[in-house]
């Protein structure tokens, strides 16, 4: 009986390996071309990839815009999507570390394993901020040991990510290489122009300091020469205590820094406290494409943050 089972297993392995070989063969020229299927970890990456690919590719995101990409559940249905993907594009810097490894492992898709041609980590192409220089542990909260992962809120770093995406798409789909490069150049030009406009508007607003809930805006602040007064959360992933809120309120008043931004998915219990204690209004702001209805693409996402800052001044 055992011998039969082992023989059956061996037969299955042989069939599986043969299937793998046939699966990995390139289709002949006569095979009708199927659209490549691109899976992104975040909705912002989906939007950026769409700028390059247009309607040439099918692109989907695992996280919806309204979901915090730190905390997705590795649903088996996501593994099914990953199983069919020709390319997986991730943010990286451990933003997805709590869920993506299980999805990649469960996908049973050799193409999108780390280091393979169908795996693109966009953080490999940018310079990260807040990379710990000393030993860190979780006393400091849910810290990212390779640096702050929210780099896509800096339009210039987003351009670097888009270039990496464009190059990868050209590599996987050489027939449309010219189109991808053309789209990438157009998008870069458009984004550079908008960045100059956003710089001018932020300067005009007179806002120089920001308070935020999580360190989501670090790259944005760095790009637009804004300073961070403080963070509402005590440490990454650790909700604020009353004592910490009192400390932040004191700092806000001392530094006259009344512009408080938060990602739209964070709990607002603390925001009510700020309102009660010091009449400080908090601006829930989209930090992912699709997090609010108006942030339908990357440019509108950044536009929304700039408008939030402008409205701080207006108050």
């Amino acid at each position: 009986m055992l011998k039969n089972i082992l023989l059956s297993l061996a037969l299955l392995v042989t069939v599986a390996v043969s299937y793998s070989d046939s699966h990995s063969k390139k289709p002949s020229d006569s095979t009708p071309k199927k659209k490549l299927y691109i899976l992104t970890s975040t909705n912002t990456l989906r939007s950026l990839s769409q700028e390059i690919a247009g309607a040439l590719l099918k692109i989907e995101s695992l996280t919806k815009g309204k979901q915090d990409p730190h905390y997705l559940s590795a649903k088996p249905s996501y593994m099914l999507k990953a199983n069919k993907a020709d390319l997986l594009i991730i943010n990286g810097l451990d933003l997805e570390v709590g869920w993506l490894p299980n999805i990649i492992a469960g996908s049973k898709n050799p193409k999108i394993q780390k280091g393979k041609q169908g795996y693109l980590d966009t953080s490999d192409f940018i310079t990260a901020l807040s990379v710990p220089t000393t030993k860190v542990d979780r006393f400091f909260g849910d810290i990212h040991p390779f640096g702050n992962p929210h780099f896509l809120l800096d339009p210039i770093r987003a351009i670097q990510a888009v270039k990496a995406i464009s190059n990868k798409l050209a590599e996987l789909d050489p027939n449309n290489k010219t189109q991808y490069i053309k789209n990438q150049e157009m998008f870069e030009k458009k984004l550079l122009k908008k960045t100059t406009e956003w710089e001018q508007r932020i300067k005009k607003s007179g806002v120089k300091k920001i308070v935020s809930y999580h360190s989501s805006f670090e790259y944005f602040l760095d790009r637009f020469d804004l300073k961070l007064t403080g963070l509402i959360e005590e440490k990454p992933g650790i909700p604020p205590s009353s004592k910490h809120i009192l400390h932040i309120v004191k700092k806000i008043k001392q530094e006259q820094s009344f512009c408080v931004l938060t990602a739209s998915w964070y709990q607002t219990k603390w925001a009510k406290k700020l309102k009660q204690m010091a009449n400080i209004l908090v601006q829930p702001t989209a930090i992912e494409v699709g997090a609010v209805e108006t942030a339908t693409n990357y440019i509108l996402l950044i536009e929304g943050i700039v408008q939030s800052i402008e409205s701080c001044k207006a108050k």
């Binding site: 059956s8 599986a16 309204k66 905390y71 199983n83 869920w99 049973k108 650790i238 909700p239 709990q267």
Partner: protein
């Protein structure tokens, strides 16, 4: 001396693992489960009282685990080996009465190179229903379901063997797994997992398992024992099953940002046939007083978990084990659990159990702390 050697080896491994952080190191995590518990019992009948005083079974000495203990310390390594294989190793250090046992829980490799298939070889927990392949820090309750303890004992259905998993091209998630292992005897397992997205936030999972003892071994392996919820001091031998069937159904709902969620799982287990040889394998957890190995047994367990706030969970579980004719309830157990998870890396859980074995009621209260150090573990769904 054995204890000292085990501890030294374990500490050296932990020290090496956590002290050499390089980019090529595997992901390493250490999980610590500490447990305090107290059990109470209604007056047992004279017959039961007499039986309960017997502490020895096939050479094993069993003690009450009331009090404070190290339920388990688990060291876990995970890394890709090369572009074709990934490796997983977990070592468990568990308190066994007054001393500790070091145990290789899992050591296996998974293939990465075959589309839609995963080959696995090594020592691993097999897929059997919802619970068997979980490591102890992922258990929904402090202890495993009674039927798992009764059938598989301390180590679960875990052994050295091989498996092949196939992800089907069906429109919903459907995975079939064939596994064969050598543990106490040679076992073969067929597992089919199906999951449907009902909405963006809710899923329904239907798992079917069939397990068979393929070949009996005349000299079964011996296993160490730790009892995590030992109501009495009496340990009975586990069921010597020939064929097992499991059907489990799970509905799960989660809001978009993991602040509120609910899970409802119901599992039906049926065992048929009894092996000829005696087992030395003791059960894990609850002492199954007066439950003799039977030719047939059936069990139903159902639990519900509510994540009330981001950090708070309230849970309830009901379990029954029926006699071989499915007419009489031999054992029933009801558990409630309240958990506070300060962060993803630490939790404190309080569990209250009511157990009725034949005519006697027992009660237990347990407090567990669950701490994780090291690499961020990806969450299971």
């Amino acid at each position: 001396m054995k204890l000292l050697n085990s501890l030294i080896l374990f500490l050296l491994t932990v020290n090496y693992a956590l002290a050499v952080p390089t980019k090529t190191n595997p992901d390493i995590s250490l999980n610590i489960l500490l447990l305090g518990q107290k059990s109470f019992q209604d007056k047992p009948s004279e017959k039961e009282s007499h039986k309960g005083s017997a502490h020895s079974h096939e050479g094993h000495q069993h003690q009450s685990t009331d009090g404070v203990s190290v339920q388990e310390v688990e060291l876990y390594f995970k890394s890709n080996i090369d572009p074709y294989w990934t490796g997983n190793i977990s070592l468990g250090l568990a308190q066994h009465g007054s001393h500790f046992d070091l145990d290789l829980e899992t050591a296996y490799i998974d293939s990465l190179f075959i589309p839609n298939f995963t080959l696995r070889a090594g020592k691993f927990y097999t897929f059997f229903g919802r619970h068997n392949d979980l490591h102890s820090h992922y258990y929904p309750f402090i202890d495993p379901p009674l039927i798992n303890q009764k059938l598989f004992g301390f180590h679960g259905l875990n052994g050295v063997g091989a498996s092949i998993a196939y992800l089907s091209p069906l429109p919903w998630y459907s995975e079939a797994v064939i596994q064969t292992i050598k543990e106490e005897h040679y076992r073969g397992i067929l597992f089919l997992k199906n999951l449907w997205d009902l909405t963006d936030q809710s899923t329904l999972e239907l798992d079917l398992t069939y397990a068979r003892t393929i070949k009996e071994l005349s000299k079964p392996n011996s296993f160490s024992l730790v009892s995590i919820n030992n109501i009495t001091n009496y340990i009975n031998q586990i069921d010597l099953w020939k064929d097992l069937y499991n059907l489990s159904l799970t509905w799960k709902w989660q809001d978009g940002n993991n602040i509120n969620s609910a899970v409802w799982t119901t599992e039906l287990v049926y065992s048929n046939g009894k092996l000829s040889k005696q087992s030395t394998k003791p059960p894990r957890g609850l002492a199954l007083k007066n439950l003799k190995p039977t030719k047939n047994a059936a069990s139903l367990n159902s639990y519900i978990q509510f994540q009330l706030l981001k950090n708070w969970w309230l849970q309830g579980r009901a379990e029954v084990i029926l006699d071989s004719k499915w007419k009489q309830i031999e054992l029933q157990k009801y558990s409630t659990l309240l958990a506070w998870t300060a962060t993803e890396y630490s939790a404190v859980r309080l569990q209250y159990d009511m157990i009725k074995i034949n005519a006697d009621w027992s009660y237990a209260i347990a407090l567990q702390t669950n701490m994780s150090l090291g690499a961020h573990p990806a969450h299971l769904y």
